[in-house]
Symmetry: C2
Subunit: 478 residues, 2 copies
């Protein structure tokens, strides 16, 4: 084919390939989460990757087009389909479609890739994995509390020590109650929320500006403020930094008092179950961006330190969040179905496990490689491999067509711990050679280069053919 | 929201939801396949779900549009992207992109969902899962043989008894060689191949018609024939029903003789490794539809019987296939990279496991449900759940808001083996009730309905609070 007509071999922008270490580490991590969720009695269920755009609520109402943030395409009967952008919208569709056959409440979990048609950036991909658990059909704070305790248990099951994570909760109703009690108008509520959400980053003074007259950032850009009064700003900051539930912030607001009762009920259950404030606690700064939350909201934060993009030491931060969404199923059925859930950002959590040395990437030993010294004797080499495998040792015969040097290079690239070599001479003596590549490179690293040869010799030894398995076992140290 | 504006809750056409039994069964099955592939020294790698359409080779050359059989969409810089339709094309892109850092040969495996924009039908979905293993960078028949033995080992590891599966192989070169030796023209070669592929279904006479003058089927539709001579037809049928490799069919054809040598080398390795013809054997009827195979081709067939769509008893048939494809990486690089692989149709294999009773769907016991008899005592009930979980028993507290009757219905829908009940009276006596739902329905099934009440009583008993865990363990029979 003409060179100019050849396609370029490149992964699509915003997507990535995943290698063996991460796949194995993720597999272990996901199995652990599954185990905890199963112990709690949640059941697995999976929706497809593709849904009707309309069912995902991503159809632009005034135009005949889907929202640009989702990958969408039309099927043969011109219906718009989209790749799921989260796991909650497909679950809502599933529950609405299968309500009759599901238990109430319906507690389920699912893991899977989701897709966003957004500008990719460092660590921001267009395909990423979420792990969700949801309880649909219960308005009880016990359902919210259960999800929070399950998340805390999950962190510990993954090896994140107590004190290094915290499951923080708040309530949308409490936030609404505050705005009602302190007369913060509907028109500035979103600005108010967003300002409070920046407390960590901007501090009290910065947020006070955003709540009041507005703020100019370092680059000179001006962000319009919410225009609140000084007393409103003062109360907002006190509310947003409170560490305990305080009825005064919502007094007189029916919604606020309801939110307060919900969170108090959750706190009672936490305390009685031995989940102290080091694991699960009220945090007024938890806001959660999504519009659809209607009650308690949660965020799981990891407290160990890491570096941010600018090299500053920061807490690792959020690895998951969720909350109560009572309106998602109603989109389909017209009837409110109370629901609550928690979603783990799998990649972020996985990065965190790597940071604390708990990502089990290297739980599989590279295989022992049996070299092919004589092509006509492949069957003999294959039998050696079978003997090793039969003894539970990961092993392979070199299946390429190249010579000795390339085979050694192959074993090296594969990080093989040992290679097994049997040429004509060894065969004649009924022997074979075992070369310890790990020992070899260790020895070579510690001695002068002119002695390397001797070191390599040390790491290679002969054994009788019949002792292959025993000798390999011994060399592997098991 | 106005009822007419509400979206319909329906899964998209050709897609489906997957429930807990299948998820658990698949999880076990996939882990078994992984284990075998890992033992062989294959490494996991995953490509994303989305690739440039061009990289998948699904761009229509004369138009500015992707092939209609793949789901495609444009990203923000107008580049065409497609959902992967198999796992091989993305692997070829990956290898071409990362050749420098990969070992040669590169042996890898991957599992994942693939997508086809085709008309769905019974058992034919637009999203389905494949499990692939590939060796890239080796022209040796040992690589093909390895894949075949690995597939055979996989079937046995999954619990399909020897004799109930067979890994059949053939070679594209042998087929080409035959057409060369017997002077079957390029123009009818595809018709010839397709006709031979129907031997199972149409028998010798039907295929003879397709090879010769053409054939009218039961509905009266006429299929044009290949127009071969009687001697060509006779030889074709002999070739297609041969059970051993026979040099006469390809004599004088360089390509045919090469194909013969490849398969003989594979047979030598099989025989030496103890893989008899009951597990891996030459079968001249294996053709494989895909255009890109260039050498040996394989098909894994299950021999146990099942019913076809019309209720007739048939062999289960193919659960996977593959072969040698030496041109896929060359699309990108211009250099031929010899490769061979095997792909399992995960859903079909899973159906087969169900058929032989080896799908491990029910490997998780439904949870014990602790009822909430008094909402103010949720914390007490939660502690019971924690005690049960602490003893390794799957347990949950009812987290809904309904009364006793709905809670029992819930436990029933959840297939709970036991429920734990503690109302005020039991609490006062320091007791709780355990109701054995499995025993209850068993007893009720065996006696007259007027005695049901008594039966239900038999299946319910009181124990002291302190003996909850021991009593539940005993009732569960462990």
């Amino acid at each position: 084919m003409n060179k100019d007509l050849r396609p370029k071999a490149r992964v699509a922008k915003g997507f990535r390939d995943v290698g063996p270490d991460e796949i194995r580490g993720l597999r272990t991590m996901l199995a652990t989460i599954q185990r905890v969720y199963e112990d709690y009695g949640f059941e697995p269920v999976e929706q497809p990757f593709v849904e009707y755009t309309e069912a995902l609520g991503k159809f632009l109402p005034d135009q005949d087009r889907p929202n640009a943030g989702v990958f969408s395409f039309q099927d043969d009967d011109e219906q718009w389909l989209s790749l799921r952008y989260d796991l909650t919208a497909p679950l809502a569709r599933y529950v609405a479609e299968n309500q009759q056959s599901l238990p109430t409440p319906y507690r389920s979990y699912r893991q899977g890739w989701v897709f966003r048609n957004e500008k990719p950036g460092p660590g921001r991909f267009r395909q990423f994995m979420q792990f969700d658990a949801d309880t649909v059909g219960s308005a009880s704070p016990a359902a919210d509390a259960e999800v929070c305790m399950m998340a805390a248990d999950t962190m510990e099951a993954l090896g994140i020590p107590r004190g290094q994570y915290v499951m923080k909760f708040n309530s949308r109703k409490l936030l609404d109650g505050f705005t009602e009690t302190y007369k913060i108008g509907e028109d500035v509520k979103l600005t108010w929320l967003r300002a409070l959400d920046k407390l960590d980053r901007l501090g009290k003074d910065g947020v006070a500006l955003l709540l009041g007259p507005g703020r100019k950032d370092e680059s000179g850009d001006f962000t319009k403020g919410a225009g609140l009064s000084d007393s409103q700003i003062e109360a907002s900051l006190a509310f947003a930094t409170a560490t305990t539930l305080d009825p005064q912030f919502v007094s007189g607001s029916a919604s606020g008092e309801e939110g307060l009762r919900d969170l108090q009920a959750m706190e009672t259950l936490f305390a009685a179950s031995g989940y102290g404030k080091d694991r699960v606690r009220y945090d007024s700064s938890v806001v959660r961006g999504l519009e659809y939350y209607t009650g308690p909201v949660f965020e799981c934060e990891l407290l160990m330190e890491t570096k941010d993009e600018d090299g500053r030491t920061v807490r690792f931060g959020s690895v998951g969040g969720g909350g109560r969404y009572d309106d998602l199923v109603a989109r389909f059925t017209g009837q409110k179905v109370p629901a609550t859930g928690f979603s783990i950002g799998v990649s972020r959590l996985y990065s965190a496990l790597k940071l604390v040395g708990k990502a089990q990437e290297s739980n599989v030993l590279s295989p022992v490689v049996v070299l092919v010294m004589d092509k006509d004797r492949q069957a003999d080499y294959w039998r050696m491999v079978m003997a090793l495998r039969g003894a539970g040792i990961r092993a392979e015969m070199y299946v390429g067509t190249a010579g000795m040097k390339a085979q050694m290079k192959y074993a090296d690239k594969r990080s093989a711990p040992l290679v097994v070599i049997q040429g004509g001479d060894e065969k004649a003596r009924g022997e074979l050679q075992i070369k310890d590549l790990r020992l070899g490179s260790e020895l070579a690293a510690n001695i002068a280069s002119r002695e390397e040869y001797a070191a390599q010799r040390l790491a290679q030894f002969s054994v009788p053919e019949s002792e292959l398995v025993a000798a390999v076992k011994q060399a592997l140290g098991n």
